[in-house]
Symmetry: C2
Subunit: 172 residues, 2 copies
Amino acid sequence: MTSPSDPNPAAPGKPLGFAVHDHLRCVEGAMAAAEARCASEGLQFTPVRRKALEILLQEHRALGAYEVLDRLREAGFGSQPPVAYRALDFLVSNGFAHKIERLNAFIACAHPGTSHSPAFMICRMCDSVAEAQAVPARGALGEAARDAGFQIERAVVEAEGICPACAGKARA
Amino acid sequence: MTSPSDPNPAAPGKPLGFAVHDHLRCVEGAMAAAEARCASEGLQFTPVRRKALEILLQEHRALGAYEVLDRLREAGFGSQPPVAYRALDFLVSNGFAHKIERLNAFIACAHPGTSHSPAFMICRMCDSVAEAQAVPARGALGEAARDAGFQIERAVVEAEGICPACAGKARA
DNA sequence: GGTCTCCATGTGATTTAATAACATGCATGG
DNA sequence: CCATGCATGTTATTAAATCACATGGAGACC
């Protein structure tokens, strides 16, 4: 699973998370990308923020703020809620992570760099989460918004269901 | 605003909430519909549940569970959180109301009867909410789900932005 | 060099959201 | 008549999020 010869089956823009992939590289790559972007945009990628992103990147699953807080504390950072919430706010507002409203939880962005309006698929059995792209102006919602004269600025799109792995297990 | 000659500009299936309409009738109609459906399906439309729905119907806006609880208490019902949460659970599971995840709040269903997967438009200035229809299988999300082998069971679709009324005010 | 300001971090306390666990009481059906 | 199921109610607790305030470092500016 961490063999360096593993191909990465997730092409850019395609949902990752359900697909097998080289996770070590996946984490390292994302960290390097974040590092680079912070440097180029003058964002302060401080130790807590870095650690928080690392924590989220470990799994393709959404973590609650208190779960992140626990791990930050273990790593020697502050132990009060604002510590986690502030780091998460930084990550979310700069596109390094997203909040899954349905779960009141946070997940690392799977398509960093890409300016995007993300959509999520949440498996209700194993809680894994995959991120896809969705343009809100398209589809039924965009149509309704145009009809109503509503200006969409941001959209939360979160599908709940069964991921391929769990569907397989259920059939077995 | 409550004049009996007001036309109702919201055709079935079209988003309501931003449109001017006869709100008294809107509430009465929804209550009657709920009444009828509970009778026909053997659901217990008890006083708390009825009152909770009435409370939500008063406004085209999402109310927090504790806000609903306050009004239930004022109406003489129990004063503890489970009172509100149980009534709201009943309304949500039977399609009389929806939960807006983004706001951790609840709103009366605008298209009762219709079996639907709702989508919402939330004004970030005045907090009003309009409900539209969105079929999750269509659009970019459905495509991504098919690609990934993910089976969508339910979808949260919540657009945040500016409603026509507030856009008008901003221009003035 | 000194100082001012901004911003990040840390802590204590509080508010808001949601659920667990348990008791009561009323229907309905056997 | 009693057993069962279901709705309601209460106490208590857990989880999520924010407020308010103190500290301290890095740069900008004189």
